[in-house]
Amino acid sequence: MLPNSPAQIELWKAFRKEISQSDAAHTRSMILEQSRLARREILAMIQSAGMGHVGGDFSVIDILTTLYFAELNIDPSNAAKENRDWFILSKGHCAAAFYATLAYSGYFDPHELSTFMQPMSMLNGHPSKGKISGIETSTGPLGHGLPIAVGIAIAAKIQKQEQRTFVVLGDGELQEGTNWEAAMTASQYKLSNLIVIIDRNRLQQGAGTEDTNGLDPLDKKWESFGWDVQVVDGHEPLELLDAIRGQKSDRPRCIIANTVKGKGVSFMENRAEWHHKVPSVEQNGAALEELLG
C-alpha cells in the first residue's frame, strides 16, 4: 500500500477550505483549473506507459475533480474514516484519471504517478484495492461498481450511519445487465443515500453507444427503475454540485452527466478511436499545448 502524502494533503485541505469560502464563479474556475492540471498529468502518464484510456479519462475528470475537491466527505489522512462518503469508479479503465485525482487529494505522492503501469507499480492499469488507500474496491470488468455501492448503501442503512455512496458509471457500461439488477435493488431498498453519476460521453470502445446497443432514452430508463434523475453538463462543476446537493426524496439518485470523450484536446474530442489510442510524440505535444490553457 502506498503511503499518503502529508504535504499534498495540506494542499488539498487548503484547496477545500478556499472552495468552501468561494463564490460560485471562483469555485468553478478553481475546479476547472485543477482538472486542467489533472489532464496534463494523465497525458504524461499515458505517454510514459504507452497505454491507457485517454478519451474516457478526459470525459470523467471534471466529475472526479468536482467530487474530490469540492464535495466528498473524506479524509485522505484517514481513508477508512467512519461515516465517510464512499466513492467507487466503476469504469475502472479510467484509472489514470482516478489516480491523478487521488494523488492530488493526498492519498499518495503525485510523484508516484510516473510509475503508472510500470512493472511492480502500485498503479495497476485498473484500480486495485489494497495498493492505494482511497480505492474502496477493485474495478475493471464493467458492471461491478453499482452492485457493490448498493451493498455499501444498504449497510449504512442497517447500521444507521449518515453517509453517502457515490458511484461513477460509464455509459457504455450500462449495457452490462448487472447495473439494472442493482438499480432495481436500490429502488426496492429506497437507497436515498446512493448517488449514481453516469459519464454520458455517448461513445464506447469502437463506436457510438446508440450505434451499438442503444441506451436512449436513458433518463426514462432510470426513472422507470424508480430513481430520481437529473441531466447535467458533466464538464460544468456547478451543475454537478447543484444536482448532488439538490432536492432529496426517499429514492436513489441518478445524475446523467453529458460529457465529451477526449474533452479538452480538440483532435480527440468525440472520436471513438481515442478510447485507448496512445498519442504520438507530435500529438502529445499538440495536446499539451492545448492544455496549457
Binding site: 464512499w86 477493485s138 457493490i148 455499501i152 444498504i154
Partner: protein, 314 residues
C-alpha cells in the same frame, strides 16, 4: 446443534448452517444474510423471522447478490451470501473473482446444495464444477464440511475470520462422523482411520461413505488409511504427502467433478513432491445422466462398496 432433525440417513448440513448462523447473529449485530430469492432453499426463513432487517434479498440476480454482499462486507458487516452453489458460482464467477477474491473482501460465500444434490433436476442444477472454479482463485479459503458438527465449526470460524471464504453446504444427508467434536483449523486435515496399504482422501459428503469403505476393505484384509479433508484450500500438504509416502497409493473421493477439485489438488501436490499412483472418484468429467442422487452415487462408484471396489481394483 439440535439433533431432533436427524433421520435414519443422517443430517442435512443446511440445518446446522442455519441454526449456527442464528446463534451467532443473536450476539453479533454485524452478521447479515444475503439471498437471491434463496431464503427457503438456504434454510433462512428462521433467520429472516428473527432478524428481518438483516436479511437482504436481492431477488433472482446472483451477480447482484455477490456484488451487494461485497459492498456489505466493505462497509463493515459480516455477510453470509447464500444461494444454490450451481448459480452462485457459475453465474457470479466474475463477481467472486474481482469483488471478493481480488479485492480481498471478507465475505462468506455459502454454496448451498452443491454436487449432485439436485439429482434428477439435471446438470444445469448440479454444482460439480464449483470446487475447481473456487480453488483457482487466490485469497479464498474453500471449506467443505463433512457433517453437521463440522458445519457448525466452519460457520463459527468464518464469522470471525474476516477473510474471503467459500463454504460448500451440502444437502445430501450424512451421519455424524467420529472426531468432529474438535476445533476446526483451515489447512488441517485429519486421519480418521489409520492404515498401511492404501490411502483414501475424502471430502464433504464422501467422508462418511469412505469411512464405511475402510470397514469393507478391512474385512478383505486391506488396511486402508482415511484422510478427512475439510479445507480443499488450503490443503494439508504435509499430511497428504506423508500418507503417499507411507501407503504408496492414493484414492480421492468427492461429490464433484474429478477434474480440478480434490483429485486435481492432490495430484498437483503429489506430482511435484512425491509422485504416487492415484485413482479419482467423483463425476468423471462429464455431465451426469438423469437420476436421483442415490442413483448417481451408485453409478459413479461414490458409495462405500464403490469406493472399496476402486481400492481393490487399484
Amino acid at each position: 446443534m439440535s439433533t431432533d432433525k436427524s433421520t435414519a440417513q443422517g443430517f442435512d448440513n443446511r440445518i446446522a448452517f442455519a441454526e449456527t448462523l442464528i446463534n451467532l447473529a443473536s450476539s453479533n449485530p454485524r452478521i447479515v444474510a444475503v439471498a437471491s430469492d434463496s431464503v427457503g432453499s438456504s434454510n433462512l426463513n428462521a433467520f429472516k423471522a428473527a432478524f428481518p432487517d438483516r436479511l437482504v434479498n436481492v431477488g433472482i440476480a446472483e451477480q447482484d447478490l455477490v456484488g451487494v454482499g461485497a459492498g456489505l462486507a466493505n462497509a463493515g458487516l459480516i455477510p453470509f451470501i447464500c444461494a444454490a452453489s450451481c448459480f452462485l458460482t457459475a453465474r457470479a464467477m466474475e463477481q467472486i473473482k474481482v469483488d471478493i477474491a481480488y479485492s480481498n473482501t471478507p465475505a462468506i460465500l455459502c454454496g448451498m446444495s452443491p454436487g449432485v444434490a439436485y439429482g434428477e433436476l439435471g446438470p444445469t442444477h448440479h454444482s460439480i464444477e464449483d470446487l475447481a472454479w473456487l480453488r483457482v482463485l487466490p485469497n479464498i479459503t474453500v471449506a467443505v464440511p463433512a457433517d453437521a458438527i463440522e458445519t457448525e465449526h466452519v460457520v463459527r470460524w468464518a464469522a470471525q475470520a474476516s477473510q474471503p471464504t467459500f463454504i460448500r453446504v451440502s444437502r445430501h444427508k450424512v451421519p455424524l462422523l467420529p472426531g468432529t467434536e474438535r476445533n476446526f483449523q483451515p489447512g488441517t486435515a485429519h486421519t480418521l482411520v489409520q492404515g498401511e496399504d492404501i490411502t483414501i482422501i475424502a471430502l464433504g459428503t464422501m467422508v462418511s461413505a469412505a469411512l464405511e469403505a475402510t470397514k469393507l476393505l478391512k474385512s478383505k484384509g486391506i488396511s486402508a488409511r482415511l484422510i478427512h479433508v475439510t479445507t480443499l484450500k488450503p490443503l494439508d500438504d504435509e499430511l497428504i504427502v506423508k500418507a503417499a509416502g507411507e501407503t504408496g497409493r492414493i484414492v480421492t473421493v468427492e461429490e464433484a467433478s474429478t477434474i480440478g477439485g480434490l483429485g486435481g489438488a492432490v495430484a498437483e501436490l503429489l506430482a511435484q513432491t512425491h509422485p504416487t499412483p492415484m485413482r479419482m472418484i467423483g463425476i468423471p468429467g462429464i455431465f451426469a445422466p438423469t437420476g436421483n442422487v442415490d442413483f448417481l452415487f451408485e453409478k459413479f462408484g461414490m458409495t462405500p462398496q464403490g469406493i472399496a471396489n476402486t481400492c481393490l481394483e487399484f
